[in-house]
Amino acid sequence: MSYFVDKKGYYGEFGGAFIPEMLYPNVKELEDNYLKIMHESSFQKEFQELLKEYVGRPTPLYFAKRLSEKYQTKIYLKREDLCHTGAHKINNTIGQILVAKKLGKTRVIAETGAGQHGVATATVCALMGIECVVYMGEIDIARQAPNVARMKMLGAKVVPALSGSRTLKDATNEAIRDWINNPVNTHYIIGSVVGPHPYPDMVARFQSVISEEIKKQLLEKEQTENPDYVIACVGGGSNAAGAFYHYLDEEKVHLIAVEAAGLGIHSGESAATSILGKEGVIHGSKTLLMQSEDGQITEPYSISAGLDYPGIGPLHAHLYRSKRAEFISITDDEAMKAGLELCELEGIIPAIESAHALAVFNMKKFEESDVVVLNLSGRGDKDLDTYVKYFKL
C-alpha cells in the first residue's frame, strides 16, 4: 500500500480537488508547477539556506532524561518549538513563499486559527517584501490578541471572518473566496496538510524536513535511523505529516497521531475528527470530517486553538483508515497536566497542541528499550493566558 499521494491527488480514497470551477486555473497552475519548482536547484539552495540561517534548523533532537526516567522508556523530543516564530509552521511558509515568488505572485493570503500560521505567513511576507492578507475568525481575533498584534507589526492586514461560526473553518472559507476574487496575482498559503490537491502533498513535503532530520540525528544518538514510535498531535495534521513523512514506508516504525478530545470524545465538545468524523468534502478535499447527519459541517472544540479543525488532512484520513497510524484522543485536562509536567521535568513550556502528544505517555505503556520520538511542534508562550487561567497561576 502506498501512503503517498497518487497522480490524481488521492491518498487511498481521500484527497482530490473538490473546488469550484473559479479556482480551477489557480489550483491547476500550482499542481503543474510545484514539483518542478521544488526540484530546481536555485529553489533548493534558497530554501535550505533560509531553513538554516533564518528558521534555525536543524532543530535539536533532545533526549528528555527526566521524562524518560518517569515513563521508563527512551523519549526524544524533536524541538520544533525552537524554530523562529515558535513552531513548525514556518517550514511550510518559507517553502510556499518561494513557490509564490517563482510563480510571479505579488500578493499572499492565508487563513489562521490561533494565529500561529498567520504569524508564520506574515513573517515570510515581511522577509520577502510581499503584500500579506490574513483571514482570521472574528472570535479567534478576540481570543488571540497577541498574535493579531504580531501579524500587524509584521505588516500583514488581518481581516475578520464574519460568517458562519467565525473561527478557523470560516477563515479558510474567506481565504478561498479571496482567491476566487483574485485569481491572477495571489498565492494562497494554506497552513496545514488540508485543502485541494496539491496542497496536502506540498505542505507535507515542506514539513518533511522534520523526519529527515530525525533520521540523521537518531543515527548519531542511537545508531539507527528508525525509532520504535513517532508521536505527533493532529489538528489539520501538518506537524504530524512532517514527523511521519520519511517513516511512512518503514512499517516497523509505529506512528501515533494524537487528536484533541476536548471535554471528552462523546461530550459534544470535542475535536476527535477520526473517531467522530464521517467521509465528506471540506475545503476542497475528500476526507474525514465532523458533520451533522445532513452534511453540515459542525464546529469542533478543544482548549487548543490549533487542534479545533473539523477535518483532518487526507493523508491522515488514509493513515487512520488503513490502520498505518494509531489514533489516540486526549482531553483538555490530560493535555494541560502533561504540559505542566514537561515544564517541571524538563524546563520546557510546550504549546498546548504539543501537550496533547505528551499526554500519550499516561495513556500507553512503552517498553524500557523503546525509542520514542515525540514531535514538540510548538512552544507555549502563546498559550500562557490559557495556562494561567487553567492552573490559576
Partner: protein, 254 residues
C-alpha cells in the same frame, strides 16, 4: 425531453432566479417557486443551504445560515417539494454543495430529485472530472442534467471540453468573483461575453454572478441565451418578504 432542453429551445431570452430554500422562513419554498413562475420567470434554481458555501458572497451565505437555523435540510426540502409538479411547469434546478448530497447518498439524492420532477443540478464544488468518472451514469439514469460553470479564466481547451460534456446549458460566471459582488458590468465583461458567444458552442450559455437589475440583465442577454439572478433576489426577499415577488421580476424583464 428534459424540461431544461425544451426551455432552451424557446425562441426567447431566459430569466432564471435563484433563492435559498428555507429563507426567509422555513416554509416559504413552495410559494416562492409558484410566485416566480406566475411572474414570468423561465426557470428556477432552488438553493440547498450549506454551512460552508465557498463560492458565495455575504448575501447568500447569510441566507444559508438563516435557512439552516430555520431547520432546512435535504430531507425537509424534498418533503416540501413532493407535490410541486402539480402546480409548477417550468424547469427546476437544485443548486447546492457536494457534501450534503454525499451524506444523503448521491444515488438517493438523484432518485429523489427524479421522483419530485427536478430537472437538473448545479454543484459548484463537484469538479467536472470527478463527475465524469464517478457520477455521470447515476445522473443519466435519473434523467438529471448536471450544469457546469466556466469563468473568464477558463482556458479555451477546457471550455470546449465542458461544452462537449454539457447536456443543458453552460453556466457562465460573469467575472472572477463569488456571488453578489458586482453592481455593473464593464468592458472586460463585455469582451468576455462576446468572446464566448463567438465560439458558437453547442451548449447555450446562461450568465450568472453579478446580475442584479434590468441593466445588467440586458447586458448579459445581449450575448447569452439568458441570465441568472441570485443575491439580488435573496436580498429583496430579506427586505420585502415573499408578498411582492412579481414586482422584483417585473423590474427586471418589463
Amino acid at each position: 425531453m428534459n424540461r431544461i432542453n425544451q426551455k432552451l429551445q424557446e425562441n426567447k431570452k431566459l430569466l432564471s432566479i435563484y433563492f435559498t430554500a428555507g429563507f426567509p422562513k422555513i416554509n416559504d419554498t413552495v410559494s416562492i417557486i409558484e410566485n416566480l413562475e406566475k411572474s414570468g420567470v423561465d426557470f428556477i434554481e432552488i438553493g440547498l443551504p450549506f454551512s460552508d458555501p465557498l463560492a458565495d458572497g455575504p448575501t447568500i451565505q447569510a441566507s444559508s445560515t438563516q435557512a439552516l437555523d430555520n431547520g432546512m435540510s435535504s430531507e425537509v426540502l424534498f418533503n416540501q417539494l413532493k407535490d410541486i409538479r402539480k402546480t409548477v411547469k417550468i424547469p427546476l434546478i437544485i443548486m447546492g454543495y457536494f457534501n450534503p448530497m454525499m451524506q444523503y447518498g448521491v444515488e438517493n439524492f438523484c432518485k429523489k430529485c427524479a421522483e419530485i420532477g427536478i430537472d437538473g443540478l448545479i454543484i459548484p464544488d463537484l469538479p467536472v472530472d470527478v463527475y465524469n468518472d464517478h457520477y455521470k451514469s447515476i445522473f443519466e439514469k435519473y434523467g438529471l442534467i448536471n450544469v457546469f460553470l466556466i469563468t473568464p479564466q477558463t482556458s479555451l481547451e477546457r471550455i470546449q471540453f465542458i461544452d462537449q460534456i454539457s447536456e443543458g446549458f453552460i453556466y457562465m460566471v460573469s467575472s472572477a468573483s463569488v456571488t453578489g459582488s458586482q453592481n455593473a458590468f464593464g468592458k472586460s465583461q463585455d469582451d468576455y461575453f462576446k468572446r464566448i458567444a463567438d465560439l458558437n458552442l453547442k451548449s447555450p450559455q446562461i450568465i450568472g454572478f453579478g446580475i442584479s437589475n434590468a441593466d445588467t440583465f440586458k447586458q448579459a442577454i445581449k450575448y447569452a441565451k439568458g441570465a441568472i439572478i441570485g443575491s439580488a433576489f435573496v436580498k429583496y426577499l430579506d427586505e420585502n418578504g415573499t408578498a411582492n415577488i412579481h414586482k422584483f421580476v417585473s423590474g427586471i424583464i418589463d
